[in-house]
């Protein structure tokens, strides 16, 4: 059940320094660009960010990185922003690298009350270091722990006023998972419609997961990130 906010700073009002924040998107695709922009204008620091990437150099979460507001990042592919590696070498940021499927599954587990799970992915590799390995029916698996966050900021296509969400093409990615795995879930959307306008069969994120809604003001277009007219 969602509250609709007009201003991004109102939507972000309970975000505090030191929190863990999940951020949807695969690079800029499906990223909550308005809410990320709001974070760059907010006086918070020491954040732990759970997101597949840290944006690109100076774009999206890449701005938060430059602002040194990120203490730690948990993701699968930081290569898309070469400044992450620099910051890591300088000791400015902690990184936890997970295979993309493990990242997605760990977030889903966090949202579903699953404490951890055994995956085949990563067994025998550098990313298995420090993780418990266990045979199940003769096959080796790694134990991976669930991930949860204080806040999730996500991007969807349409919401109804209750907070039900549908997504758009490959902008779906991590967003429906993160919607389940945080204490406070804030979604930015293209459009907010009345309950009943979204088919009950096509709703991807039922409203019980969503706390706050905001209409997107920054959107990804063919020409890059622009302010919506």
């Amino acid at each position: 059940m969602a509250v609709i906010h007009e201003w991004v700073q109102d939507a972000l009002s309970d975000v505090k320094s030191g929190q863990t924040i999940m951020v949807g998107g695969f690079g800029l695709i499906g990223a909550p660009l308005t809410l990320i922009d709001g974070l760059t204008r907010k006086d918070v620091g020491g954040l732990t960010i759970v997101s597949n990437n840290l944006g690109e150099a100076g774009e999206g979460l890449g701005i938060l990185l430059r602002q040194q507001k990120i203490r730690k990042a948990i993701g699968s592919y930081f290569t898309s922003n070469r400044e992450v590696g620099e910051a890591f070498k300088q000791g400015e940021i902690d990184l936890q690298l997970l295979p993309q499927g493990t990242l997605a599954e760990a977030i889903r587990a966090g949202g579903a009350g699953i404490g951890g799970f055994y995956t085949k992915t990563g067994v025998g590799t550098e990313l298995a270091k420090g993780k418990e390995e266990r045979q199940i029916d003769g096959v080796p698996y790694l134990l991976e722990k669930a991930l949860r966050a204080d806040v999730a900021i996500i991007r969807a296509h349409k919401a109804d006023t209750l907070g039900n969400l549908i997504y758009y093409k490959t902008a779906r990615n991590f967003n429906p998972l993160m919607a389940t795995a945080a204490n406070l879930v804030i979604a930015e959307v293209d459009e907010i419609v009345a309950p009943g306008e979204l088919s009950p069969e096509e709703i991807v994120t039922p409203q019980l997961f969503v706390d706050r809604l905001l209409v997107a003001k920054k959107v990804l277009t063919k020409e890059g990130v622009v302010n919506r007219a």
């Binding site: 085949k120 025998g124 990313l127 093409k169 490959t170």
Partner: protein, 215 residues
């Protein structure tokens, strides 16, 4: 992409016969789709789409794992990242075609990290290695400075303890059988001698070596 890359991609495409679900990695693998006309080959991209086709009108929110614009064909489906990797890890993807940095002589690959470089990313590589029923590697045979990418042992961190099934380079095609590289084909105008000279890894010459399979 160069003619060499196109040749490798074309050879890989020849492996995709009949109904199958195929995941294409970034780089040379992406080119493979250009050589597939068979309607029963369905491309999966791990960022959440089954039924990838060539891009029509560019939509910034319709991309592949390399974040390049793609199209969706009739009968395509979108899904979230956990569902997508459930497909991969759960063994529902028939073939993965991947680029590599290195291959060792047991057919294990390294394709996600270079120590000392600011490359801190693994993406879906490890999931594809453990989950895809068949893994085909496409790569130039040597690095830009002429060093073999087929090594006795990978010097970069490996992606999985699982060996791939086939290695396709600009010089040759290798099957991996019981963790050994079996030279299966030579690319046009390539001699066995040249492959030997430019390959550090030990390999076995297959019994029915075909020197000119691609025409």
């Amino acid at each position: 992409m160069s003619i060499v890359h196109e040749m490798i991609a074309k050879r890989a495409a020849a492996e995709l016969q009949g109904p199958c679900v195929v995941n294409l990695g970034i780089g040379i693998p992406t080119l493979v789709a250009n050589y597939i006309e068979d309607d029963v080959v369905h491309f999966h991209t791990e960022n959440g789409l089954l039924g990838v086709t060539e891009v029509g009108e560019v939509d910034p929110n319709l991309v592949n794992a390399g974040k390049l614009p793609v199209g969706e064909k009739a009968g395509a489906a979108f899904f979230n990242s956990a569902e997508s990797f459930g497909m991969i890890r759960g063994g529902h993807v028939d073939v993965a075609i991947l680029g590599v940095l290195q291959v060792d002589e047991n057919g294990r690959i390294a394709n996600w990290a270079i120590p000392g470089r600011n490359i801190i990313g693994v993406g879906g590589a490890m999931d594809l290695l453990v989950g895809a029923k068949k893994v085909i590697v496409t790569t130039t045979h040597t690095t830009k400075d002429g060093k073999s990418k087929l090594l006795k042992e990978c010097t970069f961190p490996i992606t999985s303890t699982r060996s791939v099934d086939m290695v396709i380079t600009d010089l040759a095609v290798f099957d991996v059988v019981e963790e050994r590289l079996i030279l299966k084909e030579l690319m046009p105008e390539v001699t066995l001698e040249e492959v030997r000279r430019r390959t550090e890894a030990h390999f076995i010459v297959g019994g029915l070596l075909d020197e000119h399979p691609v025409t």
